[in-house]
Symmetry: C2
Subunit: 299 residues, 2 copies
């Protein structure tokens, strides 16, 4: 057991959390959310996705979001850029970090981005090259690391292979996504151990969904292994597109409560974060999926 | 790390889960719930509470429940009996196991049962004596083991002291309750270690609430220490009386999903259990608080 002394949270609420919302959310609301998250101490915020509005209409205002946000000192505002076109647009907006999105499941890759895993990695190569030339860091996501909605079980070796490819290509950090939340702690540990054979632990992030209520147990298990970067979403924004009505991203507030209890530094003010969660869920008419936040507010 | 190979779940839904419901629930509904839980593989079900209907009106039909249930082979149906009067009534109903309820917090004991912790233990002595004479096992609960709504932090030594008193008095098992769900994994481990200095690990149970979303992480942490008995409530029935609208008991379905994933035997059929959770929450008009169950139903 080698708990980290501090953990960096990557807040994905403004992107992963909002991207599937059916009703248009005002750019001003997104900007206020990002600003409030920064004020609560989140030092890494994924702010937008530079994808075609044909696929993700909710992210159509990515330019307005990236250029409209008030930059706070020391905070990284990143954006998802699945291809060169998205990257160029993001660069025009002065983005300093981008992310690419691969899968550990062939079936998921085919259904989600209409190509094989190998083909998707090939497509990322020019993105990484261009980003490097522009001095912009690239984060790599691997989805389906603990299960796939189409294939079921995913071999840890397959996750390790895709993660290594992204790392070797130049991603400074690889985020391991339990996209459908089916993982449990020992599976999470075994998967992480397989990946960490090729990639240093401090270059790995855990991106776990709470669909089956297991996210915090899984996070605790990988914290024991030394993972020091966690992706989460304020108020658990996002839901699960593969199980209607079910939870998706683990709530940032619940993660911070866990870290506070473990004595692990995150730099985040839980009360301010909880306030932000209550504000955004009221603003967009969604339930607050953070249990810690609901409990704190109802004492 | 010494994970148990099997875990016994103590299902507290029919008692702890329903006791605070404001609307009367038909005895027939309670009996059907208990029967369905048994059919799903729950081998230990806390079925009723022999307290004054003045204090807990929902449990006023305790006699009808205890005498009306269809006993299945190998299943223990227990009842809460806070005093000798309750125990006598339970014995008349042919109960084979009862439980007494102490607190690790002086303030909680005063507010909840109107006497000091020491006084409450004294009052249990004749209950244990009488139960022993009747050849009825007694389970001991300790509440507030990871925090108190009035006192805040509770010293592990205080928990150990109360648990030991109950064990020495003749309780065959002591259930450690995080009544307000404020615990986190390392606190849970430290508390358990303190208690396990005096009581063998196989005589201890974890009764954790999910009010702050931490229950499953805490359970995983104490499973690592070897705890092999877990209290839970189907569909997370119960809520938290100290934080309105917040979660209470951890959902049995989420615990079983965790155990299945860890390869720990529980003897429970998750699908049947989930079905029971959907049935009872619809029957009493409550949200289903089991994330695993909601996810399984919405795939």
């Amino acid at each position: 057991m080698t708990f980290p002394t501090s953990v960096r949270l990557v807040e994905v609420g403004p992107r992963d959390g909002l991207q599937n919302e059916p009703e248009a959310i005002a750019t001003a609301t997104k900007l206020e959310l990002i600003d409030r998250l920064g004020a609560a101490g989140l030092a890494h915020i994924e702010a937008a996705s530079f994808v075609s509005p044909k696929w993700v209409p909710q992210m159509a205002d990515h330019r307005e979001v990236m250029t409209g946000l008030t930059r706070r000192n020391g905070i990284v505002y990143s954006a998802l850029t699945p291809n060169l076109k998205g990257l160029e647009a993001a660069l025009e907006c002065g983005v300093e970090e981008v992310a690419v999105f691969g899968a550990a499941s062939e079936a998921f890759s085919q259904k989600n981005i209409n190509c094989s895993v190998a083909e998707s990695l090939k497509r990322f190569a020019p993105v990484l090259e261009r980003a490097k030339a522009a001095n912009v860091r690239v984060r790599g996501y691997v989805s389906c690391v603990l299960g796939c909605p189409y294939e079921g079980e995913i071999a840890p070796a397959k996750v390790a292979e895709v993660a290594k490819a992204l790392f070797d290509m130049g991603c400074y950090e690889v985020s391991l996504g339990d996209t459908i939340g089916t993982g449990t702690p020992l599976k999470a540990k075994r998967m992480l151990e397989a990946v960490a054979r090729d990639i240093p632990m401090d270059k790995l992030a855990a991106h776990f969904h709470d669909t089956y209520g297991q996210a915090l147990a899984n996070l605790y298990a990988v914290l024991e292994e030394g993972v020091a970067v966690i992706d989460s979403s304020v108020a658990g924004l996002g839901g699960c597109p593969y199980a209607k009505g079910a939870s998706g991203n683990v709530a940032s507030e619940d993660v911070v409560y866990l870290l506070d209890g473990l004595g692990i530094e995150s730099g985040i003010d839980l009360d301010k974060l909880a306030e932000t969660g209550h504000w955004i869920t009221q603003a967009i008419g969604r339930p607050n999926r953070s249990k810690a936040s609901v409990a704190l507010a109802s004492r």
